[in-house]
Amino acid sequence: MDAPFLSVRNLTKHFAPTAFSRGPAVRALQDISFDIARGQVVGLVGESGSGKTTIGRSVLRLIEPTSGEIRFDGVDITSLSAGPLARQRRKMQYIFQDPFASLSPRMTIGQILTEGLDIQGIGNRRERRARAEKALAAVELPVDAYDRYAHEFSGGQRQRIGIARALTLEPEFIVADEPVSALDVSIQAQIINLLRDLQVRLGLTMLFISHDLAVVEYICDTVIVLYLGRIMEVAPAAALYARPQHPYTRALLSAIPSLDPLARQGRQVLKGDIPSPANPPTGCVFRTRCPVALDACAGVVPPLRATSDGHLKACIRDDIA
């Protein structure tokens, strides 16, 4: 295959402490590298504080990375100046977690949907409207939604509007940041189906962020598991669920409650809390909660290494694969 569509190299982000708290910088991301091929969907999974949203936003340069390189379709995003960046942005769009916060309460759906076209100066009024209505149709919402306000819609419908907004600019790449985690179970599946359908139909490349491994399984081709700002494991979806190799991935999978009431036993429960990203453990960041940690884990940051084709893990133990 040729050069990847999106290529992230050594992405690091430290949040400086705010003016009043003089503590250490929060190390949100440490040395993150991954690629996404055109048309691929990559899942980014991790618990709170793992840095998944920071990656998602850095990729669109909504957050300035501390260091590292992000190449999008051959263009280095991190070094673009404001003008070219603004033009670049029509190709890459973001879908947000909270369907209530992500739509301006003071704009009609039509205004929300045409905002991007407006900013980018695409088309005239009529053309913009046409494009917005097309997007509405794509997310299976009635066209009469155009003149309504967001508050009139349910969470699932709002999330569809959020998706429609991302689509109006006809992007090639979408970051979907926990698009279903705020929704009811019966709605979650609808949205995932919709996203999957759109992705296939429009040939979108997508970075799909979630805290829930069960959610990303259907939509993702590859899954990246994050913990405390570092990549723990990368694997094709099927491989990851079938043969998780990192102790953290295993624990995460095990922690998901099963619908089978008889499967209660044998669940592996991790001890302790997630450490603060402001003060992460030395060596392997997971070692403080890892059931199979060795003394050596404290000494060195385990490199991300391939165990089989496309399957990488950051763990020094080979014996638990």
Binding site: V185, S186, Q188, N193, Y218, Y241, S258, L259, P261
Partner: protein, 335 residues
């Protein structure tokens, strides 16, 4: 056999909106025995939280009230008290004493300006009449019981100094401080990460094994229900549509809504197969209806593939599908 810890029958709670009352919860019957965990499960707006707030009498005073029904609680001393219609002062003496409550957001449900220990000690002082010092000692002991390391130091800390999981452990300690007969846990793990959720679920199970209290576990997460509950009641649009032992309901749902929910929940390892086959994930069509605009008849009928005309004329009664399982579906037998 002792009376059940909690026995709700015919509960109807209404909200007042300009012009009229709308029922947030109706026809709710629920029984919890001692040492039993009953899960109340449903999506947002289904009335599960209203039910739990009705029990402890904390519906928003201005707009919400219990319109009819009975809620009987067996108290620590074995007497059974009818909670509806109880005067506020007597009800207050029940709250935090015979009923402990754990809320969803451990950050916001703890008072930011008081130390953890102080907040745990408070109900002990109020209900058990202990001195400040004794209550403080009890608080530390409770913190240790809910698995907080170094409880002495933690008791002196403030909520913001604790992690989310710790805070939820602290609220559990607070709810259990007077050794209640009933613990109401309203989405206690929703705000937590999965690995922490697993810890809290284990903790609740362990505490129940120790103390034998009844637990009303309110959640929208079916997986959690399977983990923790003995029995489950599924709510939809203010009514219980199906109830029964978890093992029965989850293996053989007798209501199309329950069945749909079960199908919608992603199961590890299965989605890959579906994707490979090009099949979409199973869903329930449509949206949750507004309580103000409920359809006539079965509320689920508009989204139901099995709905027949009869479904749209009258609200179906609860049918006893088995000796322990009930369903509010005319076609329960067809499932």
């Amino acid at each position: 056999m002792d009376a059940p810890i909690l026995s709700i029958s015919g509960l109807r709670a209404v909200f007042r909106i300009p012009g009229r009352d709308i029922a947030a919860v109706q026809d709710v019957d629920l029984v919890i025995g001692s040492g039993e965990t009953v899960a109340l499960v449903g999506e947002s707006g289904s009335g599960k939280s209203v039910t739990s707030l009705s029990i402890i009498g904390l519906l928003p005073k201005k707009i919400g009230r219990i319109a009819e029904g009975s809620i009987a609680l067996r108290r620590r001393d074995g007497t059974v008290t009818e909670l509806t219609g109880l005067d506020p002062e007597s009800l207050r003496k029940v709250r935090g004493n015979d009923i402990g409550m754990v809320f969803q957001e451990p950050m916001t449900s703890l008072n930011p300006v008081y130390s953890i220990g102080e907040q745990i000690a408070e109900p002990i002082r109020i209900h058990l009449g202990k001195s400040h010092r004794d209550a403080a000692t009890d608080a530390v002991r409770l913190l240790a019981q809910v698995g907080i390391p170094d409880p002495d130091r933690r008791a002196r800390q403030y909520p913001h100094e604790l992690s989310g999981g710790m805070r939820q452990r602290a609220t559990i300690a607070m709810a259990l401080s007077c050794d209640p007969t009933l613990l109401i846990a309203d989405e206690p793990t929703t705000a937590l990460d999965v690995t922490i959720q697993a810890q809290i679920l284990d903790l609740l199970a362990a505490l129940q094994a120790q103390r034998g209290m009844g637990i009303l576990f309110v959640t929208h997460n079916l997986g959690v229900v399977a983990e923790i509950a003995d029995r489950v009641a599924v709510m939809y649009a203010g009514r219980i549509v199906e109830s029964g032992p978890v093992s029965e309901v989850f293996t053989r749902p007798r209501h199309p809504y329950t069945a749909g929910l079960m199908r919608s929940v992603p199961r590890l390892g299965q989605a890959t197969t579906l994707k490979a086959a090009g099949t979409p994930l199973p869903t329930i069509a449509g949206n949750v209806p507004s309580l103000a605009l409920l359809p006539k008849g079965c509320s689920f009928a508009p989204r139901c593939a099995l709905a027949v005309d009869a479904c749209r004329t009258a609200v179906p009664p609860l049918f006893a599908a088995t000796s322990t399982q009930q369903s509010r579906c005319l076609r329960w037998e067809d499932l």
